[in-house]
Symmetry: C2
Subunit: 146 residues, 2 copies
Amino acid sequence: MLSKKSKYAVKALLALARDGTDEPVRIADLAEREQIPKKFLEGILLSLRNHGLLQSRKGQGGGYLLAREPKDIYVGQVVRLFDGPLAPVPCASQTAYVPCDDCQDEATCGVRLVMRSVRDATARILDHTSLATLLRRVDRVEHSRS
Amino acid sequence: MLSKKSKYAVKALLALARDGTDEPVRIADLAEREQIPKKFLEGILLSLRNHGLLQSRKGQGGGYLLAREPKDIYVGQVVRLFDGPLAPVPCASQTAYVPCDDCQDEATCGVRLVMRSVRDATARILDHTSLATLLRRVDRVEHSRS
DNA sequence: CTTATAGTCTATCAAACGGATAGACTATGT
DNA sequence: ACATAGTCTATCCGTTTGATAGACTATAAG
């Protein structure tokens, strides 16, 4: 399951990307636009900032803005940030491998084999989908329904 | 994340499939072989039985055995049984669709779009991997490392 | 027909996690 | 100096997860 944190994070980033401007957007505005509990969103945006995905400005006229171009922010990075490794099972993770303590022989573990496939498929999608990609896909839907 | 229940379930089923015989296997044996807490495994096997994946026999010489052939038991079914829908987000689920209450326009929701791809990829894998498939893959690894 | 065996069922539990809120603090533009 | 808006720490409650205990029931063997 995707956590609300990841979900809200992607939504907020996407809203900022869509916005396009270099003007900072206030937390409160973002929260209202995307229907996210404001206080909860605060923490999320802070994390994103501390990991270099967002920039912030304090005081009057302050707010958040993207720290990189939409085409350089990948959904995979965001999801990993809040939900940890993509792999359904730690021993199938590429970026955060941890062996199972109960596993007798990892190489021939059936669970690990399938889940490794799942993690690869997931990573292939999430690590190739940027905010820009997503935005384009959304736009396409919007236009196609005249 | 894959729950321990799903993990243990697949492991137990796989052990029964590998076994191949029509002789029932006792919970205690299965638990020891696969390093699963016995009492915990009990409940898991019971669920699998109640959903028609296993047969059971009580008393002396009793135990569990597969209710269908390994080629007709899919990992997807097992995982859904214990962990619910494969989709990372309910609104992206095929088998258990539930709309997000906070969603303004589902058709143009970026999160839903990506997650729909992820769920499709996951389902393509898990719903096409049977115990028999998995067993073959495991065997191949075993043989290849001479 | 009784006894040992092995699955069935219900209840309970502690720990961890997830989603969320409160409030004090700090930097900044006017 | 004051209002604004992000920063940080603490806390909270409900749910889920992984696990155990114990009473109950069916069955095969002697």
